[in-house]
């Protein structure tokens, strides 16, 4: 068996979700190659070559790959696919955008958001917002899979020594063009990599009020997250949304403030180790899954919490 993984990166840094995907691949077993597609992304290839368990880094470094558009990257992956039994990508928006194209071009199914490897052909994945867990077996010749990072502990980022192979294929994407982006800038840890997350919901009331969570987050070295209602209301940008259709997180500590606990929100955070809920409604469903619940007005409890830390 041999496995191809598409690395998650921003042309400068290798993203941690790649290391969780490597862990999943290690459980499948076999040689692992890591594909780095981008532009001026040599530094990513260098970081990737140190990750534990990688045999070869395949580097496709060209201006046409700068934004990792699905149209051409999928074609590149298909060109490389013949010698692999499995093709994996992290279940990030980049992986979810691109990998189904690979599967379709190979005429195989894709298994999305895999959280557990049972064997080389049998995998576990949540369905219905995590309210059911499906074990599925694939008889496709090449198994195309996205990996949910929270299901696998990352492999070590250091200690490996992969061989670097430079690819020469340059495939243009003539029907799709990058226009612009608005990326969040934050000094805080990334939501999906944070050990502690403080999340706010509709109960925060406004974007200005939402900022009271910053003080707590700063003291805890935490990332800040949000419910869909808080994002829809414009309190915070979309990249903070946790849930079935947002990000899936599983930190050591998740503090839900003014969040009711809808199933779609729980889908994204209920695997957190410890859950704290602060809500003024003692009937709020979030309390059914919280390890520690505090029935209180958040506008009193949050400042008090900040000074107690």
């Amino acid at each position: 068996m041999s496995i191809l993984i598409i690395a998650e990166h921003d042309n400068t840094n290798l993203k941690p979700a790649t290391l969780n995907t490597l862990a999943a691949a290690a459980q499948i077993g076999g040689d692992i190659d890591l594909l780095v597609v981008g532009a001026n992304c040599q530094s990513v290839a260098e970081q990737a070559s140190k990750a534990q368990g990688v045999a070869r880094i395949l580097l496709a470094d060209d201006a046409v790959y700068e934004y990792q558009l699905a149209e051409n990257v999928s074609k590149l992956v298909v060109e490389l696919s013949a010698s692999y039994s499995h093709i994996l990508a992290p279940a990030t928006t980049t992986g979810k955008n691109m990998l189904p194209r690979v599967a379709a071009l190979l005429d195989v199914a894709q298994l999305s958001d895999v959280i557990k490897v049972e064997s080389a052909d049998t995998f576990v994945r949540p369905i219905y917002a995590g309210n059911a867990i499906a074990t599925v077996q694939s008889s496709d010749a090449i198994k195309v899979i996205t990996i949910r990072a929270t299901g696998f502990d990352p492999v070590a980022a250091e200690g490996g020594n992969a061989e670097l192979v430079t690819l020469s294929q340059v495939i243009a994407s003539d029907k799709s063009r990058f226009v612009g982006e608005e990326l969040a800038v934050s000094d805080r840890p990334e939501l999906t990599a944070a050990n502690i997350i403080v999340s706010g919901g509709r109960g925060m009331g406004s974007g200005d009020n939402f900022k009271i969570l910053d003080g707590v987050a700063d003291k805890l070295g935490a990332a800040v997250g949000a419910s869909r209602a808080a994002v829809d209301a414009g309190f915070v940008p979309n990249d903070l949304q946790v849930g079935q259709t947002g990000k899936t997180v599983a930190p050591d500590l998740y503090v839900a403030v003014g969040i009711s606990g809808a199933i779609q929100h729980l889908a994204g955070m209920k695997d957190s180790k410890v859950i704290v809920a602060i809500n003024k409604d003692e009937e709020a469903p979030i309390f059914q899954i919280a390890d520690y619940g505090l029935v209180a007005d958040l506008f009193e409890a949050v400042p008090e919490l900040e000074s107690a830390l």
């Binding site: 558009l69 599967a103 894709q110 867990i133 599925v136 063009r177 940008p237 979309n238 390890d291 505090l294």
Partner: protein
């Protein structure tokens, strides 16, 4: 401009699904079914493009058993002009759905195909991307804004890091995210009108597509239940517990 919209019938998002006692599937008997929320947003977007004079015709397609005609009537009530049901058993996998939609697209020749980003039952998030690949069309997934201009779609996408805007040439595939629009309520007269709009039924055989799947479901089990914990009386008690009991803060 013609728009094709794919709509899936799924368990209503308010239902907390249960797993069957035999652990073979989820319980679907007597469960409320609705249009997949992302598909409703897809139809709404198509209708808005028609109201702006950009689109001229909207065709809604659903793949599944007879029940999905109800979903198609919802799409027609929202403003789609006609509907196509492809009659299959329920639960056909995304690759097969994409192949069936490919055949429909080949006969209908739409300029834009809009799908939901994900069906809230399978949580696959695949079909639009697969369809785009099979048709060799560009795609813009997870859309929160769509602007049609000069034969292109400029689409703002919700990505992990924030927002990204792509320009894709038409014909193209777009998949919807939650913040693209807020679907309208269907008024009674439109429900009546929807009943009279054309709804064709086709079979996979007619389209020359096999719906066989290489993925077998071995089991469907309930998730590990999280035990509720305790209520604390004060912030001070909370901090004490987090430090000394849970040991998650220093």
């Amino acid at each position: 401009m013609k728009i094709l919209v794919a709509v899936k019938r799924v368990v209503d998002y308010n239902v907390k699904v249960r797993v069957q006692a035999d652990h073979k599937a989820v319980e679907l008997a007597n469960v409320k079914m609705s249009i997949n929320p992302f598909c409703e947003i897809a139809v709404e977007e198509a209708v808005r493009l028609k109201e702006k004079g950009i689109a001229t015709e909207i065709v809604a397609v659903s793949i599944g058993s007879k029940g999905c005609q109800e979903t198609l009537r919802t799409a027609l009530g929202l403003g789609a002009d006609r509907a196509i049901q492809i009659e299959t058993e329920d639960g056909v996998d995304s690759l097969a759905v994409a192949k069936l939609l490919t055949e429909v697209a080949k006969t209908e020749s739409p300029d834009l195909i809009i799908l939901g980003k994900q069906a809230i039952d399978s949580d696959n998030n695949q079909t639009g991307q697969m369809l785009a690949a099979l048709l060799d069309m560009p795609q813009a997934t997870f859309a929160s804004e769509v602007v049609i201009e000069n034969g292109e779609a400029q689409v703002t996408r919700e990505i992990d890091g924030g927002l990204q805007t792509l320009a894709i040439s038409l014909p193209a595939v777009v998949t919807t995210d939650l913040r693209l629009n807020e679907p309208r309520f269907i008024k009674l007269p439109n429900i009546m009108k929807a009943k009279k709009k054309p709804l064709d039924v086709k079979t996979p055989e007619e389209l020359g597509v096999s719906t066989a799947s290489n993925v077998k479901v071995i089991s469907v089990t309930p998730p590990a239940e999280r035990q509720g914990g305790i209520k604390v009386g004060s912030v001070a008690e909370l901090v004490e517990k987090l430090k000394n009991e849970a040991k998650v803060i220093a």
